[in-house]
């Protein structure tokens, strides 16, 4: 394994002070489920000489409900998310995403903050947080800023955060009454398999089945994870027609090719994007 010095953050303040002092030469480890593999494969950048552990910082592990707002500490594990009754009630799409990750062992260590910061294209919580329009709270030294998750990604494994910036919290509004949400993914096996592609959807229809709100995001589809607003607009203000489900999938697959280019995997991915989208929309939307 690569060589480095190791420090254990005792508190949030301690972590931020140390990070500021190291000026980009420290790398944060939380659950370590991705970073440990990077260290093993000598993928740590040469500028980094210190690993700072935040897995013991209790101030970063919480799920709170404040009126309409749900606030989640970045150090909350996937297992804690998947077990939270607050979350199953307020945003089942995120509970489902967390529950689908890796294995019990991975979920007991991996954190929501790590999932976002590592920003693997297949990160399961990311599409769920995109449809929830989540906001991220980051701290650098003493200064704190908030950013929408949709504006946070730069590309695969790249986020718009400084090396000495720490993700503190993820927050979003609970689903509106009557809204349905869903997370689904295609994997090679049921457990311990990274998503080949994943999808998160939130939908709200009125009594007459008119679509009031629809949000769709797919992972492993575009270099920068995003919502597919063209496909969403196909349904807004209308009663869904069955043929629109596949049409929405085709809109998304065209957008994928436009943004990602035509790659060796495109012939395989296109039909999957279309089928995954159609199946998910069929499950959350009532058609005429």
């Amino acid at each position: 394994m690569q060589e480095f010095d190791f420090v254990k953050a005792k508190s949030l303040d301690h972590a931020c002070t140390m990070l500021a002092g190291k000026r980009g030469r420290a790398k944060v480890i939380a659950g370590g489920t991705d970073l440990m593999i990077g260290l093993r494969n000598h993928r740590l950048s040469e500028e980094v000489d210190t690993i700072m552990d935040i897995s013991g910082v209790g101030e970063l592990a919480y799920i709170r409900e404040e009126g309409e707002l749900i606030r989640i500490g970045a150090g909350t594990t996937h297992a804690e998310l998947a077990l939270s009754s607050i979350l199953w009630e307020a945003a089942p799409v995120l509970s489902m995403a967390a529950k689908s990750i890796g294995s019990p062992q991975i979920r007991n260590r991996g954190t929501i903050g790590g999932n976002i910061i590592t920003s693997a294209p297949c990160a399961d919580t990311v599409p769920a947080l995109l449809v929830l329009d989540a906001a991220l709270l980051l701290r650098r030294g003493e200064s704190v800023r908030q950013v929408q998750i949709a504006d946070f990604f730069e590309g695969p494994y790249r986020v718009k955060a400084a090396e000495d910036e720490l993700l503190l919290e993820i927050s979003f509004r609970r689903l509106r009454d009557g809204a349905k949400s869903l997370f689904d993914k295609l994997t090679r096996r049921n457990a311990l398999a990274k998503a080949r592609m994943n999808i998160a959807v939130i939908a709200l229809q009125d009594k007459n089945k008119v679509v009031k709100d629809l949000r769709i995001s797919l992972g492993s589809t575009t270099p920068i994870p995003c919502r597919f607003t063209d496909a969403e607009r196909l349904f807004l203000g209308k009663v869904p027609r069955r043929e629109d489900f596949l049409k929405a999938g085709q809109i998304i697959s065209s957008e994928m090719v436009e943004k990602s280019g035509y790659r060796w995997s495109t012939d395989y991915k296109k039909p999957v994007v279309e089928a995954l989208t159609a199946a998910a929309l069929k499950r959350v939307l009532k058609a005429e």
Binding site: M1, G32, P104, A191, L192
Partner: protein, 160 residues
Amino acid sequence: MKKIRVSLRVNGRIFTLETDPNRRLIDVLREDLNFTGVKEGCGIGECGACTVLMNGKPVNSCLVLIGQAEGSEVVTIEGLKGKNGELHPLQEAFIEAGAVQCGYCIPGMILSAEALLQNNPHPTEDLIKEAISGNLCRCTGYRQIIDAVKIASKKIARKE
């Protein structure tokens, strides 16, 4: 690379050691403390052979830096015992059900099952499958392992 001092409790005993920080929990458990029941399979958190209980929860000890285990309570297969030196109900059940073939996955498998039974002494088959979903077994096809966890659940109920 500066050495670090780490204190952790393994199978009820406190160990304090000085070590390089770029070692994993599994390395210290096997090489320094001689708990060789912890097995390394893939080394990337996919096979579950290195599963130990850390503060009561199953984790892959190949994905934990030794410094992260500071102050934690670790249980390896060596720490699982029945009363008065007898076999643990899970160990008895694995033997009865013929759930052990090559045996390499078994320490991790039993610890995942133990974590499940601690939380839920009467799990459904689906919960058993979910609990061992992070432990790969290439010999048994899992059937006998699932049966063994069910037998252990009954044994524990009888002993209560």
